[in-house]
């Protein structure tokens, strides 16, 4: 199905004004606006980094000028659903590193943890503030042929993309000023403020006016633009590992031209294993020796907490609906994509018998690596995948092949439907906050489902539109954001 158009090609009510404008201005004017937007992106220095690109390591951010619209009424449910999901996931992480009630109660299998590459034994018994571990997360949503939005995966380690949500909006405002006058579009700019507030709340008790630092692996990281962007917008320090040192008092300091200054909260954009060479990989040049010590002593807040990735695993994913029921006593507001867990014989046999109709996913790869799409793979590739599944069933899940929704996109040939997904960002602390929309990624190649910008994917601005003056749209929620209270931790915190 298409996000903006009905099956007969007429605009959905929400897209009326947009489609009408596109018809009125015509393709040439639209291409001219696209060209101006591309130029904006170039001169504003909105870039992403690709590794093996001789002369220029940062590339202009790919942006499709036609926005993707979502109705505010639907979005309000999504917001609550995502906040709910992250509360449950945080209960789970806190439980796993402490009491393990969910295992004792036979809701979650114990042996899954032993083989999880993202489980950090060093984090056992730690009680981060508010019982929250995954403070900043990005969940990927897809709309399938039935019109329903599903959660495809949760990114709880160092999800990136939020800076492009804000920058896409800045560019879109210039491209379609007339539409911003006509539509009621929820603003996205509050994110960095909310993030700042969240990070401040993680400071050790009694630290007034805390010093916040964004820890980046450096300029060669693909998300460096974002690290710098977030530091700028929050007025935070952007630091590299070499800028920080942990003192004998187990506090973290940064090296300034006036000497050492205490750091209270670190928003780290470095993977767990590189955070602290004393605790994890001794060869890491990116991290800070002693950081784990400082964190465990409660002398510094770290977001996301080390070890949060234990719930960011394509197998653990299958249990999230159970977690929501178990920890919150609620029904999930956004469904999971049905997932077969190969560790269970019955589900595995089903997968092996239906390889051609399924997407096969290894548990711990990210960025789309190792994924086999049944109806596009050769017989040989399927046989290799089947062997891998039999050899290591814990590490594989399978899902039906989804017919991802499309939206009109400006390409060489004109305006054509292209497949897309959506990554909203969720902040979890004492309260929850969900971005109004998120990053819409679009596969620019006809028929392709690959939306990653490193592989030729583009992006769109995402408009959450409130149709209050439109009689046919039901709108129970009109708040611009969901604020749900975080109940006290169920762990031993």
């Amino acid at each position: 199905m298409d996000e903006l158009l009905e099956d007969d090609g007429s605009p959905r009510p929400i897209a009326n004004e947009l489609i009408e404008l596109l018809h009125r201005i015509g393709l040439d004017d639209l291409r001219e606006r696209q060209r101006v937007s591309d130029l904006d992106i170039l001169t504003m220095g909105i870039s992403f980094t690709v590794y093996s690109d001789g002369e220029n390591i940062d590339r202009a951010w790919p942006f499709d000028i036609i926005p993707r619209l979502i109705d505010g009424g639907e979005w309000s449910v999504v917001e609550r659903g995502l906040a709910q999901r992250l509360r449950a996931l945080n209960h789970f992480i806190d439980d796993i590193y402490n009491d393990r009630r969910i295992i004792a109660d036979d809701v979650f299998p114990a042996d899954l943890l032993d083989e999880s590459v993202n489980y950090r034994a060093e984090c056992q018994g730690v009680h981060p503030k508010f019982g929250v571990w995954a403070h900043i997360s990005g969940s990927d949503l897809v709309r399938a042929g039935d019109g329903q939005l599903y959660v495809l995966e949760d990114n709880l380690r160092v999800p990136s993309g939020v800076s492009y949500v804000l920058e896409n909006r800045a560019v879109a405002k210039r491209a379609f000023p007339e539409l911003f006058q006509r539509y009621r579009i929820r603003p996205v700019d509050a994110y960095t403020d909310e993030l700042n507030r969240l990070l401040s709340s993680l400071a050790p008790d009694g630290r007034r006016d805390p010093c916040i630092a964004v820890l980046t692996p450096g300029i060669f990281n693909s998300a460096y633009f974002e690290h710098s962007f977030l530091a700028q917008r929050m007025g935070a320090e952007l630091v590299e590992g070499q800028d920080l040192v942990v003192g004998d008092d187990d506090c973290v300091y940064m090296k300034t031209i006036q000497g050492l200054e205490r750091v209270d909260v670190i928003y780290r954009r470095i993977d767990d294993l590189f955070l602290d060479p004393e605790a994890f990989r001794p060869d890491s040049m990116l991290g800070v020796p002693g950081l784990m010590r400082a964190w465990k002593a409660g002398n510094v807040g770290i977001a996301n907490a080390p070890g949060a990735g234990v719930a960011d695993d394509k197998v653990v994913y299958a249990w999230v609906p159970d977690m929501i029921r178990y920890y919150l006593g609620e029904d999930p507001l956004i469904p999971n994509v049905p997932t077969y867990r190969c560790m269970y014989e019955r589900e595995r046999e089903h997968v092996l018998a239906n390889l051609g109709d399924l997407v096969l996913k290894p548990a711990n790869e990210s960025g789309g690596y190792g994924i086999v799409i049944g109806n596009r793979a050769s017989a040989d590739e399927l046989e290799v995948a089947a062997e891998s599944i039999r050899a290591d069933p814990r590490n594989w899940v399978a899902q039906p092949i989804l017919d991802l929704s499309t939206a009109p996109t400006l390409v060489e040939e004109g305006i054509e439907p292209r497949h897309l997904d959506l990554r909203p960002f969720i902040l979890t602390g004492q309260h929850s906050y969900v971005t109004a929309g998120g990053l819409t990624r679009v596969a620019l190649t006809k028929g392709s489902l690959v939306v990653n910008s490193s592989q030729g994917g583009g992006s769109k601005d995402t408009w959450i539109v409130d149709m209050s003056n439109h009689p046919s749209i039901h709108h129970a929620q009109t708040q611009s954001q969901t604020q749900t209270q975080m109940p006290s931790s169920t762990g031993g915190a």
């Binding site: 220095g45 700028q232 090296k255 031209i257």
Partner: protein
């Protein structure tokens, strides 16, 4: 919040690189201008290579070496101080300290870098060169304008100024060391016919002609040009003027006494060069000594603000 040492270092170097590009553009532009007034047979461009601080020897060519030198100074990717490389390094340094600068400053640098990358190669040719060099100078000035009008006078701002002024002082000593020394060292009478034109070129390459004329009632004469460019601290590109600006910035930074000491040392070295103002060989040596003192100042700042 005190400035991160690494950010201080990168801000400083970003300023040095953009000043380097601007200064090279000025020198190259003025040189082309002067040469238009001289008989073509006597025209050599190679002194510009030494001014750029490079010990590279370009292969000898017959006839004019203009294109070769312009290519080297503008577009040569293997020459670390070429304009295209200096702008690129400025951008790379600023890219890692965007959070301390006004957004507009980054846009200016980014814009300039996109322009230079695209236009450098085709701007070697004389017909297009002047427009290119003018744009580099203008954008570099615009960047200072943006910072002056929108940036808080914080530590990052002072690091930026320090980078600007030390690079500028260094460039002024190089221009004087190479060009003025050559002119002064010629046997008396040898360049008489064109001496004034050439000295005007020296002044122009530091955008100093008009201010010099106002300060001296117009007559252009070697030793007085040298003294103006070294000691007239009212002129912002004179070495004394640059040192005075650096002093102002250093006093606004924490624990300044060591660094201030290094500025005073450079200033003493500068004053020692006063007698050399009318002797070409002595001037060349004196400028080398000032350059060394500036290099020491650079090292002291590095130890004091960056390494600890």
């Amino acid at each position: 919040m005190p400035l991160l040492s690494r950010v201080a270092d990168r801000t400083y170097w970003a300023a040095r690189y953009v000043e380097r590009a601007e200064d090279s553009a000025r020198v190259l532009r003025a040189y082309g201008d002067v040469l238009a007034d001289l008989p073509t047979s006597s025209v050599r461009w190679s002194p510009l290579v030494s001014i750029s601080g490079s010990d590279v020897r370009l292969p000898a060519v017959s006839g004019s070496d203009e294109t070769q030198v312009a290519q080297f100074l503008i577009a040569d990717r293997d020459h670390p101080n070429s304009i295209v490389n200096a702008i690129e390094r400025c951008r790379e340094n600023l890219r890692t300290c965007r959070e301390v600068l006004p957004r507009e400053a980054w846009h200016t640098v980014n814009d300039l870098s996109i322009y230079v990358r695209g236009a450098a190669v085709t701007s070697v040719e004389r017909r297009r060169r002047d427009r290119f060099l003018a744009r580099v100078i203008d954008e570099s000035r615009r960047l200072d304008g943006v910072l002056n009008s929108t940036m808080s006078r914080d530590e990052a701002f002072e690091m930026w100024r320090l980078g600007r002024y030390i690079e500028r002082a260094d460039m002024t000593t190089r221009v004087l060391g190479v060009r003025a020394a050559t002119l002064l060292a010629l046997p008396p009478g040898a360049t008489d016919e064109f001496a004034e034109v050439q000295w005007m070129g020296v002044l122009r390459s530091l955008s100093a002609l008009q201010m010099y004329q106002r300060a001296t009632n117009g007559h252009i004469e070697g030793p007085s040009v040298v003294r103006f460019l070294l000691f007239d601290h009212r002129f912002p590109r004179s070495v004394a003027g640059c040192l005075a600006e650096m002093r102002t910035s250093i006093l606004r930074l924490p624990a300044y006494s060591t660094v201030l000491g290094a500025v005073e040392a450079a200033d003493r070295q500068l004053r020692r060069s006063r007698p050399a103002a009318d002797d070409g060989v002595a001037l060349d040596a004196a400028m080398d000594a000032v350059q060394l003192a500036l290099a020491r100042l650079n090292d002291v700042m590095h130890e004091h603000y960056v390494v600890h």
